[in-house]
Symmetry: C2
Subunit: 343 residues, 2 copies
Amino acid sequence: MRGVVMLGPGEVQVQERPDPTIVEPTDAIIRVSAACVCGSDLWPWRGVDALDGPAPMGHEYVGVVEQVGSAVATLRPGQFVVGSFFASDNTCEICRAGYQSRCVHAVLMGAIGTQAERARIPLADGTLVATPEMPPAELVPSLLAASDVLGTGWFAAVAAVAAEAGPGKTVAVVGDGAVGLLGVLAARQLGAERIIAMSRHADRQALARAFGATDVVTERGDDGVAAVKELTKGLGAHSVIEAVGTQESMMQAIRSTRPGGHVGYVGVAHNVRLPGEELFFSGVHLHGGPAPVRRFLPELIDLIWRRQIDPGKVFDLTVPLDAAAEGYRAMDERRAIKTLLTV
Amino acid sequence: MRGVVMLGPGEVQVQERPDPTIVEPTDAIIRVSAACVCGSDLWPWRGVDALDGPAPMGHEYVGVVEQVGSAVATLRPGQFVVGSFFASDNTCEICRAGYQSRCVHAVLMGAIGTQAERARIPLADGTLVATPEMPPAELVPSLLAASDVLGTGWFAAVAAVAAEAGPGKTVAVVGDGAVGLLGVLAARQLGAERIIAMSRHADRQALARAFGATDVVTERGDDGVAAVKELTKGLGAHSVIEAVGTQESMMQAIRSTRPGGHVGYVGVAHNVRLPGEELFFSGVHLHGGPAPVRRFLPELIDLIWRRQIDPGKVFDLTVPLDAAAEGYRAMDERRAIKTLLTV
């Protein structure tokens, strides 16, 4: 089968790779319908994260079950399924508490590589959620978004907004990538009244407004903090979603939050060191990490199926799998918010 | 009046100081009945926190109202009152959200100094809570504990335990000072089933067990983490209370917590830098800071008044105000858990 391999920074190829096979009886093999390029795929592309030789790429996916292992009980060939970037058994104590991304048997899908024609999905019963029936083509981008960026933005919003939703409550969103934009959508769904999107790109600002942002702040860093405070009587936002993962974005998020407020952070941390004294006196709640997307998949699929949300709008570039390199380049150069790969 | 002044590291004197007077119409003057030495007073005593010249000391207090300013509406001379280490108006938006320690008009009582015969209490209506009547002498230590260490341990437990209480849930407590020990008491009150106290001192272990600890771990650092994991099926505690404030204690707390669990941290941070990547992948909830003790005072006073809790047990040394220096020394040398100063 064909699949995307990263050879080194800036170097992505579609190569012939071995077809996946059932390894464990709990595995399923899916034919990938659509995959995509993640913001986190740009870290090795840019040489920030080191690669140990050529690496299969991709951890977001929707597809059709082709084959199931002998221990798979709930899935059958022909079903359309959505999974997340961690395979999880969904039965261990950590999964049952809603942290499937830290399942005691978690398998990172990025090591398998879903930017490919087929993929092996470990722990298939726990990992995959089937749609009610084969989806119409127009729903596929939104279902694909659910597998990571929507689920991740949703988790950040649950962490930041759940305790702070309702009339008079303000959320600020640091980061205008796909996750930040879908954090806006999630905050709206979870009942935030005022949503401040922090973005300096007109196309992203427009999408943020379409997803429910009520205000846009173009300043960054301390100026961004000052702008959020000005919009909130000097106190800061009740909730802040952080969707970047740098020192600057984390400090901007913490400083934009009022004492007792909530920060939900999902940008994968890179060289971040949080100063303990400042964090202590900030009095904020801090929660985040790799999103347990599986927790939210049934609800998100239902919202998409009933056309209540349209997260697929974040895909503003669609290319065939064979043109994956162009998809990476466009995101790296910020010509695209997010690239969908048709398979 | 007489009052404690710190002249420099290790140097505490009781000096004659001016009697306090009403400065703002919202002030009250109290005659201090009892004050005490805080773990945080040991930072300048040990030379870790710098002093800008001689400083009045003390921020924990109970006493009797002697005089009120013209704008004070709810208090009258003769009432016995408990306050916390931040004066707060208790009406601003931050106070109403329960974060009185970050009141927009907050005044740090440590700058006023309550280890003295009298003290000016700013924002008296918001800051002070009167007891139902003059308390019997045996309740005074517990009421004094409410003004800081109990309220602080309670806040940590609310932050860590509230979402994780009930059958099968485990709390670990890092730090066996007065705050950690009262964190044990609070965790018990809030419904934790299993409470692991981390302590290597027999007297503190005994008090922890009296307050409700079910297990004691004597190891520290990574060994302490391993011991907590061994007691929790390898997963870590559901909740961890951090009551020290060092890099080692914060990392021990975070690493002892299972993914999705809660860390409540109230040890005043000193030279702490939290590694963003490790925090991200830990998946814990982190909340803490200077405790909004005022939020809990009515409930804590009620529990003490009804003899439901006996937090005053943390005072294992009582000396008159004039012997304050010995009280500091005994705590510094860990001969005393906490020193009560009779005035």
